[in-house]
């Protein structure tokens, strides 16, 4: 039965940890909670020299290019598993200007259109065309061949980013 499928369980966990993220700078119309101070977490400051994957609480990863000008973005193994079989990926347009936390595309799986949000601001320079034809690639290798887009950064990300270890702890939480 559906509710007992591992995917449903995983989706629940996925969703629950996603919700623990501090309020995003998205426009809402309610002052009541908009006024609440956003927890700008800068605990994990990033050294530009380090080239390793960093993870968001939205279960996305980014990786800086060697020249430091571009970030590659994708969804984490954890997210890919939680989403279930991906049947379509709506990729952003090349040259699209994006701001941190914008929805830049969406992934469809199990009747759900799930937004992909960018943790970095900049311009989309490349998208993974392979995913258009083979969306299942994102389930097979979400943190490698299943990357989604490359973004030329205009400013360094300000949101909370985690190392692989920290992210692992976060998802096990």
């Amino acid at each position: 039965m559906a509710s007992r499928l591992p995917i449903a369980r995983a989706a629940r966990q996925f969703a629950s940890s996603a919700a623990r993220r501090p309020s995003a700078p998205v426009e809402f119309s309610c002052r009541r909670w908009q006024a609440a101070p956003a927890l700008q977490s800068r605990l994990f400051s990033v050294s530009a020299a380090v080239r390793e994957k960093q993870y968001t609480e939205d279960h996305e990863w980014i990786e800086k290019s060697a020249d430091g000008k571009t970030y590659t973005l994708g969804i984490s193994e954890y997210a890919a598993h939680a989403l279930g079989d991906v049947v379509y990926i709506e990729l952003p347009q090349i040259d699209l200007e994006v701001s941190e936390s914008d929805a830049i595309g969406a992934v469809e799986s199990v009747k759900s259109a799930s937004d992909i949000n960018t943790p970095v601001s900049g311009t989309v320079t490349e998208v993974n065309k392979v995913l258009e034809e083979k969306p299942a690639q994102i389930n097979k290798d979400p943190e490698g061949e299943g990357w989604i887009a490359k973004i030329a950064v205009t400013e360094e990300p300000t949101g909370k980013l985690m190392t692989e270890e920290e992210y692992k702890a976060f998802t096990e939480d």
Binding site: A2, A15, V26, S112, D115
Partner: protein, 428 residues
């Protein structure tokens, strides 16, 4: 996305129309703004409008603008329309020819009434194509992602149905609601919304009939689950005809294809169902207020008006179709004289033999590429004039070509006519 600003809608005095749950006070207009309620932790709305574009725009506004920790129930019923999923192909899913013909749908032998005008809508959530009419109530729950599971609110609706005596209702493995059709074969836990006393193993008895389909939209802060609920649709027998595209054998599409299921009416009134769903929602959450009626006066809210125009734009409905290829001949061509390619059979162009296959790659609503393995480069050159042709403007092209007498126009004309017949556009 095209979103021309609508004319200024007369702002009505915001009058909260509080309703006894499930009830509707006639003669009152819905509220003109959601500003008073959208910050509430628990909200309940019911739409007095049957405009699918408006109802989906209100729903989207609630998804985008409500606080992340709030939970919302929204009930609405649409006039006859076909609603496709975010990443679906309308030409593949829907018989657009009969939509275009409007009221000229052929009455079936059993005297099934004609449906008349049926709107085509692309929604923002995933999933497959569904038919809505006045005998179908849509239920929609927006909640924090923490509370979200794909079954939670389908289970809520099943509990509501069972309280109304529908003891065959359960949630199936596709997160839809079905009515079991087997004989009563024992007891089941009344609390188990996934099994009824009539549930039989797959293939061991009559197939359950689907009465409600689910779809989801997940954003960073919010989860939306909406579903249909077929109560007393007068159009059940006509629905398959609408959801069967004659172009299907000629299309190879990316994106999401619908899974068709046998359907049934539950046989309840819309009011009884709405009230019971509202009551069940109230059982799950404390402090659920009386449902607030909403209607077209909400078009005075700029975001709702913008969303409304977006959903009605041809660019959204058609050009958002994932890339697909249209073939002049179906891959398994059992009937070479199938009526859909009559245009090719009667082609006045000497070199265009009816058996020569052509394929058209369509992306973002325009022809990206025309190809054929059996044509000379010269012939392909003629066809390449169709490159970048927008599907929305095919009718314009065929009109233009009508009067032209040069060889190229005469060569392209039958193809353009055929494309127009295969890829119709229904104007809102």
């Amino acid at each position: 996305m095209i979103a021309p600003s609508r004319g200024i809608v007369k702002l009505q005095q915001a009058s909260h129309k509080l309703l006894a749950s499930g009830g509707r006070r006639s003669g009152h207009r819905g509220i003109a703004s959601l500003a008073q309620t959208i910050c509430d932790p628990i909200q309940s709305y019911v739409s007095d409008s049957n405009d699918p574009y408006l109802n989906l725009s209100i729903e989207h506004y609630l998804l985008q603008k409500s606080p992340p920790d709030s939970t919302i129930l929204f009930l609405y019923t649409n006039r006859p329309c076909i609603v496709i999923g975010r990443n679906q192909n309308p030409w593949l899913e829907v018989n657009l020819g009969i939509l275009k013909a409007g009221s000229s749908t052929t009455a079936k032998e059993d005297g099934q009434p004609v449906i008349g005008n049926v709107d085509l809508v692309r929604r923002r959530s995933g999933g497959g194509t569904v038919f809505h009419d006045e005998g179908n109530v849509n239920w929609s729950v927006i909640c924090p992602p923490t509370d979200f599971t794909r079954d939670k609110h389908a289970e809520m609706v099943v509990r509501a149905l069972r309280k109304l005596g529908i003891d065959r209702a359960r949630v199936n493995e596709r997160h839809d609601i079905v009515l079991d059709q087997g004989n009563r074969n024992g007891r089941s836990d009344p609390q188990d919304t996934h099994r009824t006393p009539y549930t039989v193993d797959d293939g061991a008895g009559p197939r359950p009939l689907k009465v409600s389909g689910s779809a989801y939209k997940l954003t960073r802060n919010r989860a939306l689950h909406h579903g249909t609920c077929l109560l007393r649709s007068p159009n059940l027998q006509a629905i398959p005809q609408y959801l069967h595209s004659p172009a299907k054998p000629y299309l190879k599409a990316r994106g999401v294809e619908s899974v068709s299921s046998p359907i049934a009416n539950i046989g309840l009134s819309n009011q009884a169902f709405q009230k019971q769903v509202q009551d069940e929602f109230a059982r799950m959450h404390s402090g659920v207020p009386a449902a607030i009626a909403v209607d077209e006066s909400l078009l005075s809210t700029p975001e709702i008006s913008k969303g409304y125009d977006e959903l009605r734009a041809l660019d959204w409905t058609y050009s958002q179709t994932p890339q697909f290829t249209l073939f002049s001949h179906p891959e398994t061509d059992e009937d070479p004289h199938a009526p859909v390619h009559d245009h090719l059979d009667t082609s006045p162009v000497p070199w265009l033999h009816p058996k020569i296959p052509i394929n058209f790659k369509v992306q973002h609503g325009a022809i990206l590429d025309v190809g054929s393995s059996k044509m000379s480069n010269q012939e392909l050159e003629v066809l390449s004039t169709l490159k970048d042709q927008r599907i929305q403007e095919l009718e314009k092209l065929t009109d233009e070509l009508e009067g032209e007498e040069d060889d190229n126009s005469k060569a392209v004309r039958p193809i353009a006519n055929w494309l127009g017949a295969m890829l119709p556009i229904v104007h809102v």
